[in-house]
Amino acid sequence: MKEPVIVLDNVSKSFPVYHHITGGIKNFLFNLPKALNSMRNNRFEALKAISFKVHKGETLGIIGRNGSGKSTILGLIAGVLKPSGGTVIVQGRVAPLLELGAGFHTELTGRENIMLNGVLLGLTRAGVLRKINEIIEFSELGQFIDQPIRVYSSGMLARLGFSVVSSLDPEILLIDEILVVGDINFQKKCIDRMNGFKKRGVTTVFVSHSMADVERTCDRVMWIENHSVKMIGKPDEVIAQYSKATA
């Protein structure tokens, strides 16, 4: 077996319940004792003692109900969240696939947005310029590439986003429920590109509610229930159990 590139060892993540303060200063001051007390004692446990490894070139699917902690795991791997306990080790360049239109500006053209998004995700300008033709070609946007993206359909936006990320040459790819958009042809192209990644040794962590996508692309599947790992193993076995539990 190849060496693990993502290791989560006994990781837990909890954070204060922020709703007392995000309600605003006014709210906070009027309910001061309650708010302070709740901040000190009330913590939301997003993950409890999670351990797993992802090996180089592997595609791991994460399934589970809404709010079970799947996106928190991606946040920990991306490094935007710090664990409250345990250790997270990630080796390699991480590229997250953003939700539709994030990091894009609607008034700019597709071409200008490729530059913007590419640099936001970690490339240099020179790096984006080297790849821009390949990105445009993959996106199949044709004439639209020089139009402001406010005229794009959501399928076109998804194509643009995926084209940028997939050209990043990432070592670790994080995908949070995204492939559902775009037409069948483009979806197939995305799956092909992901398989191409796999061949090149790119590690992918894939959060999805679409069992078909998970079964088609993943080598292993992890089922998160109640903020901890319920089951981890072969896709068909885990999905069968999960489907039985949620049915």
Binding site: Y18, I21, T22, G24, I25, F28, V80, H105, V119, L120
Partner: protein
């Protein structure tokens, strides 16, 4: 790939984005940058010169020289509460230096201000004055000081606003108070003696006075300069402290 190179490119594309969007429709974009301070100047001119008859020469020029730099500061501060909130999906998912977002926001407002300096010059010609040689280093110097101060304060406001979401309202009220407590529409010499020392407790007073002296008299006073530099370094330090403390929690609260 070096970190520095990536920082530089990030700042470049993010600033370029805003500038492009603003000036895509060139003439209109430019007009938007200067209409606001000009309209303010017009209102104050009517109120104080025509109606209240303030005893000052070249009052219109005086207003414009103060309102343009203030507009930069006010625009950046009023936009600060929303900069992280408005980029929630990026902050939540991409691990990049988040202070870049307020940095480029302040930088972009600075560029709009620099581009509006010719309007000040135009008004100077109308009042038979001309730019001074000292501008060559005076303007960049004041730009730097104001940039650091605005950036520092913006870091505080943008970070704290993620936790206290109504800070936006507090900021706009505070900015309005600050505007009238800063000698912009009145000269500091008109402040009664017993209140005079208070005005320097206001961190932007010395800076705004410096801008006006630079534009109107072609002079730079060392004491105002040092005082505003002191305030801006303080703001920068405080900004980094607050941002450093809170930035780890940004993705949790969004």
């Amino acid at each position: 790939m070096s970190n520095f190179e990536h920082y530089r490119d990030l700042i470049f594309v993010l600033t370029q984005k805003e500038i492009k969007v603003r000036y895509k429709n060139t003439v209109l974009g430019y007009l938007w940058s200067i209409t606001n301070p000009l309209a303010f100047a017009f209102v104050f001119f009517i109120a104080f010169k025509i109606i209240m008859r303030i005893q000052m020469e070249d009052y219109a020029l005086f207003l414009i020289a103060g309102l343009f730099p203030w507009q930069w500061f006010a625009n950046s501060m009023n936009a600060s509460p929303m900069v992280f909130l408005g980029n929630a999906s990026l902050v939540k998912k991409v691990n990049f230096p988040r202070n870049i977002i307020p940095f480029t926001m302040v930088l972009q407002d600075m560029i709009h201000f620099v581009l509006s300096i010719p309007v000040i010059v135009l008004f100077m010609f109308i009042y038979h004055k001309s730019p001074a040689l000292i501008w060559i280093y005076g303007i960049p110097l004041l730009l730097c000081i104001q940039f650091l101060m605005t950036y520092g304060l913006s870091l505080i406001v943008s970070s704290v606003n993620l936790f206290f979401r109504d800070l936006e309202r507090v900021t706009s009220i505070f900015m309005m108070l600050l505007f009238y407590f800063t000698p912009i529409i009145y000269p500091e010499t008109m402040i009664p003696d017993k209140y005079k020392h208070w005005v320097y407790l206001n961190p932007v007073s010395a800076l705004m006075i410096s801008w006006k002296n630079l534009f109107l008299n072609g002079s730079l006073e060392m004491s105002s300069l040092l005082l505003s530099l002191g305030y801006s370094l303080l703001a920068l330090f405080a900004g980094y402290m607050v941002f450093g403390r809170l930035s780890r929690r940004f993705a949790e609260v969004l």
